[in-house]
């Protein structure tokens, strides 16, 4: 048991090493998360400085809510997809998967080790973005209201959930397809184009409750940010999110076990 835990810890550490040491990739992921936040905040700061009468301060609760959307619905999930795809198919792409299989180690263990490492990287990147967003929220609040501690904590938890779910799904899809580009294209297309369109389609009615984005928006703490309101119970929302997290990674695990190495 102790041996298994040691090996599991080592394998997670190894996956973390191979992700974190891919410098170009990490720079891209950070840029995906930070660049929109920095540009948007900078624009608002300049706007307010140039005409305070027409434009309010860049910070405050309004900025905080928008920052949550960017980190939890748009650019955060894009980064989570990139990280999940790299974690799920990186060893296949490099040809190292076969060597790992040749050690006799369980393929399920090889799959499972990808998840904590990818989540650790995702959470770190999102935490950096969140810290920047908080700094702008409080630093440039002017006379505006700022979020309470409880809202900040709830928001952090929600960001972890939203991005963690997407990251795990990306690992599952990448392990299933064995293709990083395919996974990235499909999931970003889904996240940024198809899913928002379906969410807007009121003719779908309660079927939209099955959309992950709808669930995540429903669970988002704090004031609404203009996204379409979907009503469901918290239990249903959690069940839908759990289903997304269960099905695609399960398919990825199955493919990892059956894939020709």
């Amino acid at each position: 048991m102790t041996t298994n835990l040691t090996v599991a810890r080592q394998m997670v550490g190894a996956d973390l090493l191979r992700l974190a040491k891919k410098r170009g990739f990490m720079a891209l992921v950070l840029a995906v998360v930070m660049a929109p936040l920095v540009i948007w905040a900078g624009y608002q700061v300049i706007e307010h400085a140039s005409n305070p009468a027409a434009y309010g301060p860049a910070g405050g609760i309004h900025h905080f809510v928008k920052m949550l959307d960017m980190l939890g619905i748009f650019m955060g999930p894009v980064a989570a997809v990139l990280i999940g795809a790299e974690a799920g198919a990186g060893d296949l792409g490099a040809g190292v998967f076969r060597d790992n299989v040749l050690t006799g180690r369980s393929r399920l263990a090889l799959f499972l080790a990808r998840i904590p490492a990818a989540l650790a990287v995702t959470f770190t990147v999102i935490a950096i973005g969140f810290a920047f967003g908080l700094a702008v929220t409080f630093g440039f609040a002017g006379g505006l209201a700022t979020p309470s501690i409880s809202l900040i904590l709830e928001s952090a938890a929600w960001l972890a959930l939203a991005n963690g779910v997407v990251c795990v799904i990306a690992i599952g899809v990448a392990s299933l397809t064995g293709s990083r580009p395919g996974t990235i294209t499909a999931l970003i297309g889904w996240e940024l184009v198809l899913s928002p369109l379906l969410l807007q389609a009121t003719t779908l009615g309660s079927a939209r409750n099955g959309l992950l984005d709808g669930v995540l928006l429903f669970l988002k703490p704090g004031p609404a940010s203009g996204a379409p309101a979907i009503t469901m119970s918290v239990a249903v929302a959690i069940a839908v999110a759990a289903l997304w997290v269960a099905v695609l990674p399960a398919l990825g695990a199955w493919r990892t076990q059956t894939r020709d190495a």
Binding site: T6, V7, V96, N100, L102
Partner: protein, 339 residues
């Protein structure tokens, strides 16, 4: 010592390089447990095409074993079956005495393997790649990283990114990765591929050291006949998915007996004396001397004695040394003609 059965030339397992050149202990399959690898009737079909057909191999422990064949002969498919990467259509295999795939995990814990070519994360250094590999192999393996890097002569480049390595360095790093778990058996698929002459020499020396000084078994698949002849003690030749010969390199080369050239004062009389001898085959007069094939190399002395006692003056008596390449082409051509 040499008999043919079902188109396979079976040659006795004795007189290996290791025994001959280094005075090491003879390979005793029965005394030291199961062979490193044993297959019985191993077969793999892809649809209607047979990639490997009824292959029965015995790889003795403590030897460098060459698995020879043209590209596409079935070498890698057989290795993949041994390592449990693909299932056999029929037959059975054991690795270090353990049946695969039934006890694959236990067997592979004692095996280091490179299939096709060693792959690494190019953005990580050699040392970091070994850290990643060690993590999967088990607790405590990480402590061997420096040792194996030194073992393959990569300690000075260990902190460089693998993306900057030459093919030869990647092959050596592949061997280092194999050695991490201190394996009893190494299975190397085409380890000489793409290496320059210096790289081949390094690889050959490394393999000989692994066998002679460390007592490991090294199973090498290759289409480079000359390298196998120089590196291995024992070999099997596979053609069209079937093993057509296996045994110690010397005996494969000599065909189990060997060819003999005799120069004497009266070739016609000598030929008449040897014509009815059951030990002599394919006797012919060539360039004023005799050329013949013997059942066993030791019979050369008897031939000499018979000729001399009959009053024939023998001025030269020399076994003909063939290369493995010549024998390989001879065997595969013979099968093509028979087909």
């Amino acid at each position: 010592m040499c008999k043919r059965a079902s188109g396979v030339i079976l040659i006795g397992m004795r007189n290996t390089h290791a025994n001959r050149d280094n005075g090491g202990p003879a390979v005793q399959i029965a005394e030291h447990g199961a062979p490193a690898v044993q297959t019985v009737g191993l077969t793999k079909h892809f649809g209607h095409r047979a990639a490997v057909e009824d292959v029965s191999l015995t790889v003795p422990r403590g030897t460098a074993y060459g698995f020879l064949g043209h590209n596409g002969a079935g070498k890698t498919t057989l290795i993949r079956m041994l390592l449990g990467l693909t299932r056999a259509s029929a037959g059975s295999a054991t690795v270090l005495g353990l049946p695969v795939p039934a006890q694959r995990a236990r067997a592979l814990a004692r095996v280091g393997a490179i299939v096709e070519e060693p792959s690494f994360y190019p953005h990580l250094t050699g040392r970091e790649n070994l850290k990643v590999a060690a993590a999967v192999r088990g607790p405590g393996v990480r402590t061997r990283i420096d040792e194996v890097l030194h073992r393959v002569g990569l300690e000075n480049r260990a902190n460089d990114r693998v993306g900057t390595y030459s093919l030869g360095m990647r092959q050596r790093l592949g061997v280092a990765r194999c050695l991490l778990s201190d394996p009893e058996l190494l299975i190397l698929d085409e380890p000489m591929n793409g290496l320059d002459p210096g790289g081949m020499l390094d690889m050959r020396r490394m393999i000989r050291t692994l066998v002679e000084e460390e007592g490991r078994t090294v199973f090498i698949s290759s289409h480079l006949l000359d390298e196998v002849e120089k590196t291995c003690d024992v070999a099997a030749i596979i053609d069209g998915g079937r093993v057509i010969a296996q045994g110690p390199i010397d005996e494969l080369v000599s065909g189990g007996g060997g060819e003999l050239v005799v120069e004497c004062d009266d070739a016609e009389r000598a030929a008449g004396l040897l014509a009815g001898d059951t030990a002599v085959h394919e006797l012919r007069i060539e360039h004023g001397g005799l050329r013949m094939r013997l059942l066993a190399p030791e019979q050369a002395g008897e031939i000499n004695a018979r000729l001399v006692s009959a009053g024939v003056v023998v001025s030269r008596l020399e076994p003909v040394r063939h290369s493995l390449e010549e024998r390989f082409l001879e065997m595969t051509t013979r099968l093509e003609v028979a087909a």
